[in-house]
Symmetry: C2
Subunit: 456 residues, 2 copies
């Protein structure tokens, strides 16, 4: 049965691919820049229309920022698959570096060029292609329930998606999800990243004087700059261990399976050394140890602001000093808990006066690489791309995966149309039309197989 | 004899004070902004003319920046007194905060308002008044030789005066000097500051990456910000002790006399606490201990520049971090030696890659409070102002006193026309006409008595 439907899916997609290129052009011609708001509502309406055409019961849901979209289509089992995508795009500037204008989609050399061609409108169209193909191959009824969930704020950091999902649990409950992107690495292997670190962003400000003072009084008037240096020095030791009491208490240990998976990743040491002109890795670690530290939390200084920043000298004692920090968190750690522990640590180490400003936060997220859904999606990827899927145990950065995966304990996989050099966020963003087709073939396979016995 | 000449000096000055106010107006009407160069040469010519009128053999000496002026007048002994002054002024901006325009000298309520009215043109005129009066009281021949030495770059940090003096030793050799300023404190006591700390300004830059990187790689890619924090933390301990090996080796111990003098200064604790909103003094010291630390060197952070300085967050690992530092140095310490020790310390503690940029430096300078010249000037100040002179053992800041005092081992005193609130460097700078007269009386007494037996 699977083989039959797979052949039917591929045949359907090959036959109709030109129609979808037109649909993608139409979607890309509509700006939807979340940072400025340009075209966002109109684009949301377009997407609602595209989903309704496929028979999804679809609504645009206003929330605190740009609207969310929820489309539902019931299928033949009680299992539910979610597509998470976003209809917003990065700003198109600088315009002069685009070969063709960013909102005038243009096909050149087998690729469609436009802002959003890959990230994430190409991915949206690939999922619509998959729905159409799976419906056609299954006599008009999907083998599982489908939720197509989209947001319009991914490019501005998904500030509301976690709360939105929690408040709309009943509408969004799912058993597994396909993430907004799927990518091919330089060797042609499809990659699925099985997690992300969490993040807590804070700014710490200390003030020792009501105003800057002449540095001839440095023996008398305390410096905010030195106070901040000492505070920071107490925050992390020279082995990169974060010294806030209890910081590591909730961190779950990394599994031997994930460590092995990491060690199987391509060795990027030479590329890293060349790209960044490195003489050493963090903490003087070997490349292997540094790479493995992706399973550890980090405490990064984004920037320090204190005193005089201009040319030459200014003989001044800075009254104020501030540092922006991001903590990357591993599974088990929660930004709220870390924030509380940081505050408590400041209070008990003589820095009760330090001001803390909290910026965005995201929870960590982790999928078991041996989850049957992950394995099914990986096999499907190998079928489509002809090379074994690369399972990357976690990203070093953060993403809203937890927002979808966390509340439902749902495994998430990557599947779609991107490749390592499609210029996402940059001028000449594009999707290769062959990748559009293959991305749809991959998503359609997952949609076709999920819900059937033995396929996750 | 002294009493006779003193009475003659005072009578002369009281009689002619109006003429000098006109001379001061003329001098202040000529801009001489060293920072921009506006009017500097023209003002130098005016000053040369004013000195020549008194019979001083005067020449304008071009050097690396704005010209120096050396005037000489031989007297009745072989001892030589120097006046050190400057004919340049601070920029006048912001114009809209001046009650009358900065280069249109205006008398209001017994004071002359103009840029430079006190700092330093009022002081120059007071010295000319003193010369005229001392000549009149001594039958046209001063009791000592006089060198009137002026520079045109004091307001831009006196970058060349030290080298100039060394290269013109023969022309500038003196036995004692009167500094460019004399001031009255809020209680009406004349103040003489008997020294200044030296300074060495440096910028330290570390670079760990060829370019900024995504903070999701903080476990892998080393941060320049953290590297700088660790470097700084090794530079000074939490008791304010500077940890560069040998840093204190050349520092001379403070004398019991200077400590006692310091303890006799007015207690500024309440003023300091209020002005700067202090909750603590440097290093958690008591006020008295912090005040006494003026005899210790300091290591001040002027500013730190690294990473993101804007609003909100930017998830970036800074590739570069730099800190501007000034070391204030005490007698015995030399900026060149400290710079070398800093470089060596960096080289031997794992920071051989740290770039060092050297900014301005000045040597420390110290006068013995019991020097006969100092005591003579203090007695003269008390005569003029009616209150005992306050001898302040050292300034916390730096000044080119060493440039004049160092090569000739000459004691230096303060005497002149300023008071604590004459708005030097600010809008509505002014000199009180009574202070102009008293400043001249004080300088004339020193000029009259220096060189006579028993008067230093």
């Amino acid at each position: 049965m699977t083989t039959d439907t797979t052949a039917a899916i591929d045949a359907y997609l090959r036959q109709h691919v030109d129609r979808y290129v037109e649909e993608l052009k139409m979607l890309c011609a509509q700006p939807s820049v979340s940072a400025t708001g340009q075209g966002v509502e109109a684009c949301a309406d377009l997407v609602v229309d595209l989903l309704q055409k496929r028979g999804l019961t679809t609504r645009k849901v206003p929330y605190r920022g740009h609207p969310f979209i929820i489309g539902r289509l019931d299928g033949a089992s009680d299992r539910t698959l979610m597509f998470y995508n976003h209809y917003d795009v990065q700003p198109p500037e600088p315009f002069d570096l685009w070969t063709s204008p960013p909102f005038e989609p243009t096909v050149r050399d087998g690729a469609l060029y436009a802002r959003g061609a890959a990230d994430d409108k190409g991915e949206i169209i690939a999922r619509l292609m998959a729905i159409d193909a799976a419906l056609a191959a299954n006599d008009g009824r999907l083998p599982c329930n489908l939720i197509f969930f989209l947001e319009g704020e991914e490019e501005i950091g998904s500030p509301h998606v976690a709360d939105f999902v929690l408040e709309h649990r009943a509408d969004l409950r799912c058993d597994a999800a396909i993430w907004e992107v799927g990518s091919i690495d330089p060797s042609g292997r499809p990659v699925s990243t099985l997690g992300a670190r969490g993040i807590l962003g804070v700014e710490i400000t200390v003030e020792t004087l009501g105003r800057d003072a002449h540095s001839g009084m440095a023996h008398l008037l305390p410096s905010a700059a030195w106070r901040l240096v000492r505070l920071l020095n107490q925050l992390k030791d020279d082995q990169e261990r974060i010294l806030i009491p209890g910081f590591y208490d909730e961190a779950l240990p990394v599994s031997a399976r994930d460590l092995a998976l990491l060690d199987d990743q391509p060795d990027h040491e030479a590329v890293m050394r060349e790209t960044y002109g490195l003489s050493a890795f963090t903490g003087g670690r070997t490349y292997r140890d540094a790479a493995r530290a992706i399973f550890q939390p980090t405490c990064n200084i984004q920037g320090i602001t204190t005193g005089y920043q201009g040319g030459g000298m200014k003989t001044v004692i800075p009254a104020r000093a501030s540092v922006k920090i991001d903590f990357r968190l591993v599974p088990g750690q929660r930004p709220d808990d870390i924030f509380d522990k940081l505050r408590r640590w400041l209070d008990t180490t003589g820095y009760a006066d330090a001001e803390l400003t909290r910026y965005g936060s995201m929870l960590p997220y982790k999928v078991d690489p041996d989850d049957p859904f992950v394995q099914m999606a990986a096999r499907a990827a190998e079928e489509v791309h002809g090379l074994p899927a690369m399972l990357t145990p976690t990203a070093g950065g953060s993403s809203p995966m937890y927002a979808v995966g966390g509340p439902f304990n749902a495994p998430i996989v990557f599947a779609g149309v991107s490749y390592w050099d499609n210029r996402g966020h940059a001028p000449d963003e594009h999707v290769r039309l062959a990748d559009l087709l293959n991305g749809a073939r991959h998503v359609a396979r997952i949609l076709d197989r999920f819900g059937r016995a033995g396929d996750g």
